[in-house]
Symmetry: C2
Subunit: 407 residues, 2 copies
């Protein structure tokens, strides 16, 4: 019997307890012993829970219990999760978390402590919810140089964009619908401004390239400025607009990472990933493109990924799994100003097509009413900004600018 | 340093050697020691190979070499692969194979020998080529009851069907093109008659449900009878035709498994998997649908999956990985006659719509020239055959009949 504790009994935490209880037999046959929930940490009361007698409000009861070998952290947020997780690892307990904020902010440090203490720190559920991605990527990585990872990593924004694309619903209405359906929080900033997707691509980039990438070193744009006109023009050009987290390895060994809405070509596998679903493309030098698709959030999908990690920890109580990256100082990341991309522009003003063609050279343009949409060839973002300045000087207003993805 | 041997230096085998040599540094940093190719078994000569001095024509040189801890079997076919693999396992060597025929025919026996000898038998590359599927599925499985696995598991037939769908190319021309491009063999029977896809769904079903499923207990239909008329009618109804390997768990605990062309709805993730690509959907009770996509064949994709297994074997020389299923006697498999599905029919004859509606009850029909396509509601295959008999008695010819997928 392996005793575990669960810190947090919210959506994911109650799902973890539920799966550990309802799938007991299945887990036993995989592990060869029972997983016993010894403690659940939450400040609230859950008198109706089948394990109501095991709830505690006191973290010390978990840290001081030598029988508890694996601790699940599903509280979310940085405090007190960071402190609790660090103390658990230092006390020789393996930790499983679904907390992407924690992993993106402190992953390298926590992995180093786990290594030192010869325990495991696992976080399959922190990216892609129920989609297996951390382990398969680690596996792909062994025999591949990963050229690029690009993903739809946030279900809330993907739901909103899909509603805009499929039903012509304006952004504000789609956001409200997402909130009503429980896909978006009352304060949706972390989702719609791209921070959640940014944390996830940071985790995948750290894993792929072996050095921690901190969210504040990644250029991040949300989807709040995307309009139905952009959606319509994109479709005319053969694209859909998706919020993409993307990291590429460049020839000089540096990485180009950002989170931003992008025009994704219809032929890309990522273009068909709709509503609250997530999809992640890993481009290896040997495998080519491999895509993982599924529910990126939700109680049971996320909890099942947590439980898979718990089982792995229980199987490896005395051995470390091979999941590690070093700390990073950002010196391996290029500025987003040097990142190269073709661009989509929406313009208004007299002779916008001709002026855009003059400034950008080779362009493709489409007009609808008094707006013009233009696709440019590839250029650095700083060159693009310069050319936008030149356009403005000719009296052309740049209504929106979106990168074109090549995934 | 871990010494390995590679049996077979064909497409996949030469790819394995290539990755082990070109990705040496990467593999070293993952494993912490060098993987050394000590022997390559092939009856042919490869004087230009950088490891030409390590070739042998004599299997005894491998089996008797105590330094060789891991053997890669990439010869294909059952003989002598089966005998060689069995002897390697019994000699205490771990074995990695890409040979789906071998795993589908002898997986349970070889897994049992590996268990007895405390070595590993791994076959990630046997299904889905470079797509990680065996390990992620094993992981998904831990915290999920898998309700269904459905996949496009054969790139050759998917290429042919895609050409029929996208370009209106007749079957024979599409097959010839696939052969010219190297996607199909000169003798394409194993692909186009569904046997290759059948072996792969047998492997996934064995893994998902813990009992070996042998290919000869699985009803298998190929794509040779699919016509451009079927493709066109399917499209009108909102479907594409794909060759699907599928296994479902029924409420009584038995499994419903078959390999057959199916009408896949546009909205399904599997409908967008085109050309030589593979896609596999795993439907768990907690995760919901998870889909894995990528190149299902080819030298480097397949070889990179083999190498990932080799690394895993090297990491676990003294410990067994948790991959196992018991032998099966077919008693957990229902007859395809009892399998329930909605059906697509293409008919000719006077008053075909009306007669089909009379025989099948609730139907949807479309007419084009002198043919009628009909979609039925769900029924067992034996009920369907009975009704087809009744239709024929009314003077209606059943030109084709294809199952409708619900993935």
């Amino acid at each position: 019997m392996v005793s575990v504790a669960i810190m947090g009994h919210g959506v994911v935490g109650s799902g973890v307890a539920e799966i550990l209880l309802t799938h007991k037999q299945k887990l036993f046959s995989s592990l060869g012993e029972e997983i016993y929930i010894k403690k659940v940490l939450d400040l609230r009361e859950f008198p109706d829970s089948p394990i109501a007698d095991r709830f505690t409000k006191d973290f010390e009861e978990i840290i001081n219990d030598l029988e508890i070998r694996v601790v699940v952290e599903v509280m979310g947020g940085l405090n007190p999760a960071y402190d609790f997780v660090k103390r658990c690892l230092k006390a020789g307990k393996s930790v499983v978390t679904s907390n992407k904020e924690l992993v993106a902010a402190h992953g390298a440090e926590l992995l180093a402590i786990a290594k030192e203490e010869n325990v495991n720190f696992m976080f399959e559920a922190s990216v892609g919810g129920g989609i297996p991605i951390i382990r398969p990527m680690n596996q792909c990585l062994v025999a591949n140089n990963v050229r690029e990872v690009a993903g739809i990593l946030n279900g809330t924004t993907n739901f909103i964009l899909t509603k805009m694309i499929e039903d012509g619903m304006p952004f504000d209405d789609a956001l409200k619908l997402a909130q009503d359906l429980g896909f978006a929080e009352r304060n949706p900033a972390a989702d719609i401004e791209g921070h959640d997707a940014c944390r996830k691509i940071c985790i995948l980039a750290s894993l792929a390239y072996g050095k921690h990438v901190y969210p504040d070193s990644v250029h991040t744009e949300g989807i709040t400025h995307i309009t139905l006109n952009d959606v319509k023009f994109a479709k005319e050009f053969g694209y859909v607009i998706k919020l993409i987290g993307r990291v590429k390895k460049l020839e000089d060994g540096k990485i180009d990472i950002l989170t931003a809405p992008m025009l994704v070509p219809f032929k890309s596998q990522l273009s068909n990933i709709d509503y609250e679903f997530n999809g992640i493309m890993v481009r290896g030098d040997c495998t080519g493109d491999v895509v993982f698709y599924g529910k990126g959030a939700g109680k049971l999908p996320t909890a099942s990924a947590v439980v898979a990690d718990v089982v792995d920890c229980c199987k490896h109580l005395k051995a470390r799994r091979f999941l590690f990256w070093a700390d990073g100082d950002g010196s391996n990341i290029i500025s987003y100003k040097d990142s190269v991309s073709a661009m989509y522009l929406r313009l208004s003003g007299t002779d916008a097509e001709a002026k855009a063609a003059k400034v950008f050279g080779d362009t493709v343009a489409v007009r609808s009413n008094n707006e013009v949409a233009v696709l440019t060839t590839e250029m650095t973002y700083s060159a693009f900004e310069e050319k936008c300045g030149a356009l403005k000087e000719c009296g052309i207003e740049v209504l929106s600018a979106i990168r074109i993805g090549d995934m």
